[in-house]
Symmetry: C2
Subunit: 68 residues, 2 copies
């Protein structure tokens, strides 16, 4: 769906922390099915879902001027 970079960041961060999808699902409060789908590149998560995952992984979502 064109979120390759974001998906990649989440997945790589999770793996570098040696956390399974199941554990991350528990920690973040996101359903396991939802996380699986997301990492598999399916679907279009909501901002809330992304935020929950980011919070659990110590990642922050920012929006800034391109190039700036």
């Amino acid at each position: 769906m064109h979120f390759e970079n974001i998906i990649k960041t989440i997945k790589e961060r999770r793996e570098s922390l040696r956390v399974t999808q199941e554990t991350l699902a528990d920690l973040s409060g996101v359903g396991l099915r939802t996380l699986k789908q997301f990492e598999a590149g399916k679907g279009n998560p909501t901002l809330l879902t992304l935020k929950k995952l980011g919070d659990a992984l110590g990642l922050e979502l920012t929006l800034k001027i391109k190039g700036g």
Copy 2:
């Protein structure tokens, strides 16, 4: 819903470009209703919606390690 910063960035960027919600809706392909709700702090947009708005406004969404 806790996305204050993101909402604020979108809204301020739109205003600094002197673009109305209606114009941004047209340019981005996001429905006017959806944009209005989002800027009003209601709801929980999908990543795709956020990406469309960001693209139209020259903003990029990034996810990175907190503090890093």
